[in-house]
Assembly symmetry: C2
Homo-oligomer: 440 residues x 2
């Protein structure tokens, strides 16, 4: 009988391993990102998992009788030497090579410059291959570290990860922005958020989180909307106020930003990124925020119940200018615009104990305290002209005891978008879903 | 201006903190899991995030004038003392208490015994509240540690986490088992797997993983099928053989099982769980496995192209009996039953370079090497009587260069189910989705 042994797992080699092998021999593999023919020899740049590695290949070098080309996958063996002009400061002088696979056609779009210059509408259909570009590779590595930081911070604060169903009988947020489907002869919808489930799980574990796709059938084809995105949700019990939730988010963002600043120094300088330093985050009431930007920028208050994107921009600008903060919590949103489970402010029930977080003037989080008392929740459902019977299953959690609790949802792609100061969210989703796009 | 400070995050108190406070005073909060009236005093058992804590409450104890009941949420202050008969070995002698919230009705089902005895069909509709049961709380904490172990192991091996869309234009696996929906006037389907996307991302990062829901419209209402489940997927490039993939899975499972055995000693003994010790995992060819159980158990070979659940059970039994292994890789599945992207075995193209992993006789993983060469992939699509034009976007990755690669998908709920030796997968999904269930 044969056995599989975990000791046989092969370590992938990174650009760090190349540097560590300086002066010695190394065997690495990768896709050929770029070839520059210099006559006697060529510069062959390989993609390693975490960066690129320059190799010098003499024209006489043997690749087992095969020719090499961009996007061929190869294995090369050679000597590592310092070379200031090479990315990362080292290059491999190749002695022998092996072609592992070859493309059937040349790239239809240039991906091996720093950034892809093609327009989004031409580039997105080719995402399957354009993601091999260096800018995208860094971006989505950083995105994976945002998610990892979110989880690590919450793990350290006693949160438990949960998985909740995305095919639901009813929409948590209500309204028309819901994708419908048939489920074995029944009507079903895709989850707009894990709201009802994460609340139920507060009754189980006190603190829970979930990172998962959510689906919004919004008919906005804007630069900041996706119809499917990754929502980083958490929910916590035994809070004294919704400010407990904001404190957790602040701590989480601080950890995420500090880690990215530390881990991606080279990439940050190359891409000229400005990773926010978070100490504290200012918070301001919705109503006051409107008044502040009216006083400061002469912005007229048109809709007292909602913030439009321009107002969010101005509020972001105000707190950057006055407090040098990239983030600001806007609190106490009007009850009219918040869902039925939002807890009203006892001091003024026209407002709720809720908040949004703006990052450089863009809403990246919505959160707040939820109603935990059964009678209070039933009354608010009726006040909102909905039928409590439609929410019987959800209301079971209130009926059978829930602690004071609240939580939030963070849009991963929006957070990424702002970190990279992009003008379009489609750069921050590997395979974006919008009104016009289902492919790739 | 006011500021939110991460230093204000409140640490939740666990049963460990109670033990650490032995002899001193502590304030804890939780839902009341159980009250036993002893006359002069009551045993009040609180649910803490990671377990339960016994409190003794004298009948004269003041809860701010309020009465307490099961599933009320309370805060209590008292002295910790050793008490061998209490869960965890300590109890809190309560001096004063505060009622934070009260249920509107008594529990419709008993959740505070070790395990819920109600039948699944009566219990699942109440999952929102039955998950407060101790058995469920342990189960889904362990499940969250399975996922964490999966990620931690793969992170340590240079894998990058990815997020891929669940609303797709086409089904990766093909066939009829796909949920259909309308997407802004276009036909769409829910992802059966991230297959096409994770393969594309091998061209980007070499090694990638995703933990996300997948959707299968299978019309089986069995004890081991869910129509929505969590798939733990990884895909890796530059493999020498599909055995490289099996080695990674073996290493990952070893880490997961070792961690669970270490972290949940008390719960494992309480629930009489048998957590497998993994050193190596035997592997056997599909054809040989059939022959082995024919010779050993007289099991007639009916369908030479597939394994039925009984055969999987017998193979599992064989490797338990002969090699004391809870796991066995069955390799080289017939090409007929594997998807069009599976690489055929060059030694016998009737079989593929693929595998399933059986855990105690249940398939928990399907994986294998994929075709990376463009012409080879186009030829196999045609051989399978499909149209390469339908896969033009997917085929872009092969056309523009892919390394030898492969990967697998692991069903989280099935892995959990086998770990707990359950007869029904619905115990291992918080909110199961089957043909009859969309709620809760």
């Amino acid at each position: 009988m044969e056995f599989t042994n975990p000791k046989d797992v092969k370590k992938p080699l990174s650009v760090k391993d190349v540097a560590a092998a300086n002066g010695g021999e190394i065997t690495i593999h990768g896709g050929i990102h770029n070839i520059r023919d210099m006559g006697e020899f060529s510069f062959v740049v390989l993609r390693l998992p975490d960066g690129i590695c320059q190799c010098t290949v003499e024209s006489s070098c043997d690749f087992g009788g095969e020719s090499i080309c961009e996007e061929a996958c190869v294995e090369v063996t050679g000597t590592v030497r310092e070379e200031k002009r090479a990315p990362g400061g080292y290059e491999v002088v190749v002695k022998k090579g092996k072609v592992l696979s070859k493309p059937a056609a040349a790239m239809p779009i240039c991906i091996n410059k720093h950034k892809i210059t093609a327009a989004l509408e031409n580039e997105i259909p080719l995402r399957n291959i354009t993601l091999r570009n260096g800018n995208y590779r860094t971006r989505f590595r950083i995105q994976s570290d945002i998610v990892k930081g979110f989880r690590d911070y919450l793990d350290s604060q006693g949160f438990v990860e949960i998985h909740t169903p995305k095919i639901n009988a009813k929409a948590a947020e209500g309204g028309a922005n819901v994708f419908k489907m048939e489920y074995f002869g029944k009507k079903a919808v895709l989850a707009q958020s894990p709201q009802f489930y994460k609340q139920a799980m507060v009754g189980v574990y006190e603190r829970v989180y979930e990172v998962a796709p959510v689906f919004r059938a919004e008919k906005h084809n804007t630069a900041r909307h996706l119809n499917e995105y990754i929502s980083m949700d958490f929910e916590m019990g035994y809070i004294d106020s919704f400010e407990d939730i904001m404190a957790v988010e602040t701590g989480m963002l601080k950890l995420v930003m500090d880690r990215i600043r530390e881990k991606y120094q080279r990439e940050i300088s190359l891409m000229k990124l400005d990773i926010p330093i978070i100490d504290t985050i200012p918070h301001v009431k919705f109503k006051e925020a409107k008044e502040l930007i009216q006083a400061e920028y002469g912005r007229e208050i048109k809709d007292p119940y909602d913030l439009d994107p321009d107002e969010e921009q101005l509020i972001g600008r105000y707190f950057k200018e006055k407090y040098n903060s990239d983030f600001v919590f806007v609190t106490h949103y009007p009850s009219k615009k918040r869902p039925f489970y939002a807890m009203d402010d006892p001091e003024d029930p026209n407002y709720t104990l809720s908040f949004d977080l703006l990052f450089r003037g863009l809403e990246v989080t919505t959160g707040g305290q939820r109603i935990h008392d059964y009678d209070e929740q039933v009354a608010k459902i009726i006040r909102k002209k909905m039928n409590p019977e439609d929410f019987a299953t959800y209301l079971n959690i209130h009926k059978h005891g829930m602690p004071p609790h609240g939580g939030l949802g963070i849009g991963l792609e929006r957070l990424t978008m702002r970190l990279f100061n992009d003008d379009n969210i489609r750069y921050s989703s590997m395979f974006p879903r919008d009104m016009l796009r289902l492919v790739p």
